[in-house]
Structures are given as C-alpha cells and as structure tokens.
C-alpha cells in the first residue's frame, strides 16, 4: 500500500522534476517524433502496396486515412462520439459525487473505514466487464446499463487516490486551524481541498481513461449505440478501411481525453510543485 502511494506521488511530482535534467531538447523531440510517425505510416503503405500485408487483414494506409477523413466529415460519426463521450463523462461526474463524501468519511472516521474495508477490497478487483451479462439481463443494452458499468469501473481509481489524499492532510495544519478557530469552511477550503486536489487530479485522469474503455467495451459487446458499436458494425459488414479508421479515431479520442485532463490538472494545480517546474 505504501509503495503504491509513493509511486503515485513520484509519478506526479518528484520523478518528473528530476528527469528534466537529462532530456533531449523540445524541438528535437518533436522532430524525431514526427519523423518516426511518418516513417511508420510510410512503411505501412509500402508493405501494403508491395503485398506483404494481406489486404484482407490490414488495408493500405491511404485507404484507412481516406476512410478516416470521410468519417470525420460525417455527422453520424460525431453523433457516435457524442454518445460514447457523454456516458463516460456523466459516469465520471457521478463517480466524483460518490467518491468525495465517501473518501472524506473513510479518512475521518475509523468506524466507516474499517466497516467498508472488506466490501471495498472485494469490489475493487472485480472486472467491470464481468458484470456485462448481468446488467444486460437487468436493463438490456440501454444507457442506464452503460452508465452503471462506467460508474462501477471508474469509481475505484479516483476513490483510492482520494483516500490517500485525505490521509495526507497534515495533522499539524489541522491543529493550527483549530487553534486559530478557522471554522469548518475555512479549514475545508484552505487546508483539506488544496491537499486533496493533486490526488483527485491523478485519480480523475486514470478514471477517465477507464470510463472511456468501459463505454467502448459495453458498446462492442452489448451493442449499446456509440463508437464501439460502429466498430463492430464495420467489422461484421466487412468494411475494413472504415473499421481501421474508427479504431484510429478511438485512439485519437483517448489521446484527446488524456490531454484534456492534463490541461485541467495544470489549471487547478498551477501552484503545485509538479506543475511549477513544468512551466
């Protein structure tokens, strides 16, 4: 337990500041990165044209990118993205609403903490996808079912992080607040929330990635509408280029979600060490 707390901390703060010393210059990094991406795409195209890659398995790069272009220009595609994203983000919001009071209660009260220990430790490792058949029985392939699975799957990273965060609230600072008679609101807003925020940010980012995965899986396996269902439909319809295009689009969507949460981090944590050195 302690070691994972340490590594979470070092992932967000310590390691990155130290690492910056030995680094290739920013411009070289971008150039080398772009060159290698171009190289891989070129290799892919050459391999398809030369016939090393059977086109029944992997279509050529240009076919996939043309299909991607027409997907990006179509309204149906954005509708599917909207459905996938809205259930992920709504799920994440519900997770935040559940995790905040729960982590505070667990951090503050021994009774709550010990009573919930077994149920939480047992529920946490249950793979959320294992519940797909049961939830299909109960709700069918509906938005409710998707939302339930998203919440069930993405609750744990955020909750775990926030419990660590509540534990990290400095006891000295709390006693000081008490002797200054800061009151509940000032104590919460000036001491508890600032020390909780970095953990919440890390947890939210992990939870967001998992929420997206769960949405897509539910769409693929259970047939709820969204980008996952579009991939399955393209597959069963034998439209390989658009299937690959949708997969690339799903990856880009994942990248966008990750980047968006990094921006939110930077915005909320501009005062925190990990962000200050990054600037």
């Amino acid at each position: 337990m302690t070691s994972s707390a340490l590594s979470y901390a070092s992932r967000s703060g310590l390691a990155s500041t130290r690492a910056r010393r030995r680094r290739v210059g920013a411009r070289t990094r971008v150039l080398v990165g772009a060159a290698s991406v171009a190289f891989v795409i070129l290799l892919w195209q050459t391999a398809s044209v030369a016939g090393w890659l059977p086109s029944t398995v992997v279509p050529s790069a240009d076919a996939v990118f043309i299909a991607l272009g027409s997907e990006l220009a179509s309204g149906t595609f954005w509708g599917e993205v909207g459905l996938t994203m809205s259930s992920s983000m709504l799920g994440l919001l519900i997770v935040l609403v559940i995790a905040t009071p729960l982590s505070l209660a667990i951090g503050r009260s021994e009774f709550v903490r010990e009573s919930l220990w077994i149920p939480l430790e047992f529920l946490k490792p249950i793979p959320p996808v294992a519940l797909i058949p049961l939830t299909l029985l109960l709700w069918g392939p509906s938005p409710t079912m998707k939302l339930f699975l998203v919440v069930f799957g993405s609750l744990w990273p955020l909750l775990t992080q926030m419990i660590y965060g509540v534990r990290e609230v400095s006891g000295v600072a709390l006693s000081m607040a008490r002797s200054y008679r800061l009151g509940w609101w000032l104590t919460t807003s000036r001491i508890v929330i600032p020390s909780l925020l970095p953990f919440t940010a890390t947890g939210l980012r992990v939870s967001a990635a998992i929420a997206l995965i769960i949405s897509v899986v539910t769409e693929m396996v259970a047939g709820a509408p969204g980008i996952g269902q579009a991939i399955t439909l393209a597959q069963t319809g034998g439209q390989l280029p658009s299937m690959y295009a949708l997969i690339v689009a799903a990856g880009l969507l994942g990248l966008a979600v990750n980047a968006a949460f990094r921006v939110i981090d930077r915005f909320l944590l501009f005062w925190h060490a990990s962000q200050r050195t990054a600037a």
Partner: protein, 258 residues
C-alpha cells in the same frame, strides 16, 4: 487481543449483514432475474468446482497468466531501453502515447482478423492492451533515478548489467510495480472481454453464453467466479509486490523518509 477482536468485528459486521440480507431477501424469490442466493451458490459448487473447472476455468487462468507475464516481460524490457535512451524515447513517444490511449478492446476485431478465434488471439489482446502502463512507468522510473545514484554507480565502475540489475531496476521498482498493477487490471478486463467476443471456452465465453440463453442462475454463478478470480489475482500480485519491494518498505521505515 482485545484490539484485534474489535477490528475483526468492525470489519466483519457489514459484509455479514449484507450477505445475510441477500440470502434471506432472495430466499423465496421467484423473480427471473434475482434467483435465490442458495441456488447460485449451489451452481458455483456443482459446476465450477466440478466439470467447468477443467473446461472453462483453467483455460482462462492459463491464457491470462501467459498473456500478463509476457506483457510484463516486454514492458519492463522495452521500458528499460526507452528509459536509458532519451533519443529512442523521443522517437517512439507519439506512437506509444497513441497506442496507450487506444481503448484496448477496439483491437479485438483486428486480433480476430489476424489470429482468428482462439487462444492466440486472446493472449495477443492481453499482451497488446496491458503492456503500455508497465512500459511507460518503467521508462519514467528509470529516467527518474536520482542523478547522484547514477554517479555513484559510475564511480564504483559497475558494469552496465550490474548497473541495471542492482541500481536502476530496484530504484525504479515502486513505479514499475504501480504500472504493473494498472496493467493487471487492464489484463483482467481483457481476458474477460476477449473470451466474450472471440473464444470457444473460458469463463468470459461461458458467462455471456449463459446470459444469451437466459440461464440466469449460471450467469450469476459465473459472475461470482469471475469476481473471486479478479480478487485472487490482485491478492497474489500484492504478495509478490510486498516481497520484491520489501527492502524498500524497510528502508523507508528506518530512514523515516517522507
């Protein structure tokens, strides 16, 4: 003794109450969707500790273990290379970030195209989906090893292999294990999904099939088995982590770091 008893009571009352509530509330249940708990547990005992153990449970565990171990081996090895060479890291970064952000289940159709339905496809999906968290955490961990520690290793003239084995990997250990834990969760998700979509045996295959044929008791039973397996996998992982990182916990305690 008294404290231990109190802790046990505090921890046990809620699970016991919940289980009893489920047992009695469902005892006379005639609802199609909520069969009595006693029937579900009966199914777990007669089926999963019986014929399904060899037919579905062992194949699932085998696929999961081989896929996960392969992914960890690859993740640490490649992560080590990327951590040691900033240039290699810069070159692969956009691709790795993209592949990492790809929700792994979308690879299922590609896996089916390449490998068809079966064991190799399931293992491929697990490896390809779960390797990234470990790979990136290893690279970050290696890169983040303290400059002083590196200098020290150099002035003792450790060979490259000694440096990796005794300095870099242990120092990056906690972060590598944090990555492996994320990988573990993804791997568990992927074994279940890949069996649901592309397998003819395994618990994932069975649980979805039982739902589609409305064998509700069997669906509940298989779901419980999956939950227990996920729990056990995490338990084993934590034991291994504790043993491998034991020196670190000891050091933190003795130096009172953090």
């Amino acid at each position: 003794m008294k404290r231990a008893l109190r802790l046990a009571l505090l921890r046990l009352w809620l699970p016991v109450v919940a289980l009893l509530a489920w047992w009695f509330a469902s005892a006379g249940s005639t609802s199609v969707y909520f069969p009595p708990l006693s029937k579900i547990l009966d199914a777990v005992r007669t089926e999963w500790l019986g014929p399904y153990f060899l037919q579905h449970l062992l194949p699932s565990v085998g696929k999961f273990a081989s896929g996960y171990l392969l992914a960890m081996l690859l993740g640490v090895a490649i992560g080590l290379l990327l951590g040691l060479s900033p240039l290699a890291r810069a070159a692969t970064d956009p691709l790795v970030q993209f592949l990492r952000s790809l929700p792994p289940p979308v690879l299922l159709p590609i896996g089916i195209l390449i490998f068809g339905i079966g064991v190799s496809m399931n293992v491929f999906i697990i490896v390809f989906g779960s390797v990234w968290a470990t790979l990136l955490n290893t690279a970050d961990g290696i890169r983040g090893v303290d400059e002083q520690v590196r200098d020290m290793a150099r002035s003792y003239r450790l060979t490259r292999w000694q440096r990796i084995r005794f300095v870099l990997l242990p120092a990056a250990g906690p972060q590598i294990f944090a990555g492996m834990r994320t990988s573990l969760q993804i791997a568990i998700i992927l074994i279940v999904v890949s069996e649901m979509v592309g397998a003819t045996s395994g618990i994932g295959y069975y649980v979805l099939k039982s739902q589609q044929s409305f064998q509700v008791v069997d669906t509940w039973a298989a779901t419980i088995v999956l939950g227990v397996l996920g729990y056990l996998a995490t338990l084993v992982f934590l034991q291994v982590e504790r043993r491998v990182l034991a020196w670190q916990t000891g050091m933190r305690r003795s130096t009172n770091a953090e």
